[in-house]
Amino acid sequence: MSAEHAMSKASHAGQHTEDQHGLSEKGLKAGSVGLIGAVVIGVSCIAPAYTLTAALGPTVAEVGVHLPAIFLVGFVPMLLVAFGYRELNNAMPDAGTSFTWASRAFGPWLGWMGGWGLIAATIIVLSNLAAVAVDFFYLMLSQIFGNPDLADLTKNLPLNIATTLVFITLACWISYRGMETTKTVQYVLVGFQLLVLGWFAVAAFSHVANGTAFDATAIEPNWFNPFAVESFSAFAAGVSLSIFIYWGWDVTLTMNEETKNPEKTPGRAATVTVLVIVIIYMTVALATLSYAGIGTEGLGAGNPENQASIFAVLAGPVMGPFAVLMSLAILSSSAASLQSTFVSPARTLLSMGHYKALPRKFSRISPTHKSPSYATIASAVAAAAFYVITRTTSENALWDTITALGMMICFYYGITAMACVWFFRAEAFSGAQAFFFKFLAPLLGGVILLVMFCKTAYDSMDPAYGSGSSIGGLGLVFILGMGVILLGVVLMLVMAKVRPEFFKGEVLSRGK
């Protein structure tokens, strides 16, 4: 019996790579994500425990009791833009997302800035996530050991910066090694977050009912009226903050081939996700306002001391000994988000390197771990640098970074929405559906976001804006936001000199 295979005598096939378009068919687990899975992905991308603790305080500072109204209104531009996002993703699926789409619609310069906005936003959120994780890390230690001094360690500047850098490094290393949070872990994290947030709300309402609340405030219908917000400035600031709390939701809309039913699952998942999120946001917002009021003293949600991280202050009085669960929920969700968010700027940088819009090394993929190697490390360095700068210049780094982040999201989402309108302009009037999804919705959403961006940018020049930190008479939020955008312009001009192909439109051509 000879096992010599006939094939082995065949002509040398050495230089022929098996022709496989896209990934090998066997690799793609098509249709593995069901409705619940997709909702879990959506909720975990939003990370509600983290977004609430980070954004609730700053938003109350802007709009007071109209928090529920602003949280609801903030969803509208997000929804409108997400429709455009979905159209672009279907037409041009690409790791560069906003960068690629804006380049195809508006050419290299605006495209580059769109990509920069996305990278900047994710870098800023990385530094904020790490900082929140560090705060709750020390808070949890103090709750476990019953020693309040431990919680104050986070206020020790060198120690805080060192711990944050350790967290960023760890997340970067995990991401570099190509490890991803598994499905099971994600399910547990999401379930735990929702459970603890629900617990917090129930506990807060029962304090109100028992008369043990800090500043029991009766819920009024007026809280839901966005037009009752005192000024347009406050309204704009509130909306750009609440864009942040829905950021990540759009992912559910872009899941297609991996869902069991690509026709229906993404839409249903997006709907269910947003319902879950809105319900939890409303419940927690109302619970917080009813329990603590918006007073600027003590536990009040209007107290600037509390606004950087509202649950760090309120979880103890509201949940009693179980407050440690809140710390654990926020620590785990922000740590998981920290790791998963690393993927985003790394892939965008990789894509920009690939299209020759950044130096070649950004397009490196690690042969061993098959992850974007240089881009991941570059993101970590940028996030660490951003944190160190904000932390040392701001009185309240968390607050100011979140406000700057809201601005940055408005900026790149605005550009993305407009890219959709412009890219599809030829088909915009070909039917009612195309008109709505490719033209009207993204146009409205884009205009709203860009207006919010300009208004917030203008207002933030005031040194009293945000946490009240300022440099040279200009508000720190303005300096952070505009500084980042200006840095992008400078880098873009440098790149245009060093590697001009992309900027001559030779790599990504405009139009279809």
């Binding site: 019996m1 096992a3 040398h12 975990s44 993703n89 997302t97 949070t181 998963s340 990789l350 098959k370």
Partner: protein, 308 residues
């Protein structure tokens, strides 16, 4: 004959390709270079749809595989495949089963700074689950010529006959000498005891070898002339391995530990220690693995390729 090569675009991948070429040359086997890319998950990747990244990853993988194919000399037929999977080891085993491969070949090092062999995570995962023999290339393996000798490490556990059969088959098919190696760690025993132990080991090895040799008169003479039995001693297994002479074109066959479930590989502690000291490639054969590649075998078994 097909060999699946676990390729990655680093030193480890090069080691594997070189060893695969050496192994294929004596047998006219064809190579399937398999590059495993991770399955890009939607779970845990906020603000970034995965589709585009998959595309870039795939493009890069094809480029890497083209480079890998260029490493293979023109006399050896080779094909390249991109596979995606969460676990490299799992994807390689699947590919080996799908192609009806007779061996899986990988680079074993993780760093190679301290030891010639320090098993990487993929290699160690493979050794726990593979149903076909796994060849491990040591760090910096650069030979691309046919093997010159086969060594077979013999323990005293059950399954030695199967392993010897496999080794004999390999040596006969490639027309190279077979050396049966018994490794003794004598940790501080007296000289007399040591001699006795060595004698026992030699007798044991010779007895098994005699049993494994083919019965045909002429055949026996031809094969026997090319086999030898060696007993290597040292204070430790590592020292015993060091004291043996190894040819550049040699490989060491080792049976997997009895801890393994039948037909899969598990590297025992002795094998692990051998691996650390070994300067040549090692092939770990699953327990109960039947050699179906002997040219002279009278077995009626269908070729492996035809079984699937």
């Amino acid at each position: 004959m097909r060999y699946v090569v676990g390729y990655s675009a680093n030193a480890r991948g090069h080691d594997a390709v070189n060893l695969a070429v050496s192994l294929a040359l004596g047998r006219g086997a064809s190579l399937d270079l398999v590059l495993v890319v991770p399955e890009v998950q939607q779970f845990g990747a906020a603000h970034s749809p995965r589709v585009g990244f998959e595309h870039l990853l795939n493009e890069q993988a094809q480029e890497w595989l083209d480079q890998a194919l260029a490493l293979v000399p023109s006399g050896v037929p080779a094909q390249a495949h991109v596979r995606s999977g969460d676990s490299d080891a799992h994807a390689l085993i699947q590919a080996a089963e799908e192609f009806g491969a007779d061996m899986l070949i990988i680079g074993a090092t993780s760093s190679g700074i301290f030891k010639r062999f320090s098993i990487g995570s993929v290699a160690s995962a493979l050794l726990h689950a593979s149903t076909v023999p796994v060849a491990l290339a040591p760090h910096g393996y650069h030979r691309q010529e046919a093997l010159t000798r086969i060594s077979c490490g013999l323990g005293t556990r059950a399954g030695a006959e199967k392993l010897l059969d496999f080794a004999l088959g390999m040596a006969t098919n490639r027309d190279v000498p077979l050396r049966v190696v018994s490794l003794l760690a004598l940790d501080g025993r007296h000289a007399a005891e040591a001699t006795e132990a060595a004698q026992a080991a030699r007798e044991y090895a010779e007895k098994h070898l005699a049993a494994a040799l083919p019965v045909g008169e002429q055949e026996e003479v031809r094969v026997e002339a090319k086999t030898e039995v060696v007993v290597a001693q040292g204070r430790s297994i590592e020292e015993a391995v060091d004291r043996l002479d190894w040819e550049d074109g040699e490989v060491l066959l080792i049976g997997s530990s009895r801890l393994a479930t039948s037909r899969s590989i598990f590297l025992g502690s002795t094998a692990n220690r051998i691996l650390r000291a070994l300067p040549v490639p090692m092939i770990v054969v699953p327990s109960d693995y039947e050699l179906k590649q002997q040219n002279h075998s009278a077995s009626n078994d269908a070729p492996r390729e035809a079984q699937k």
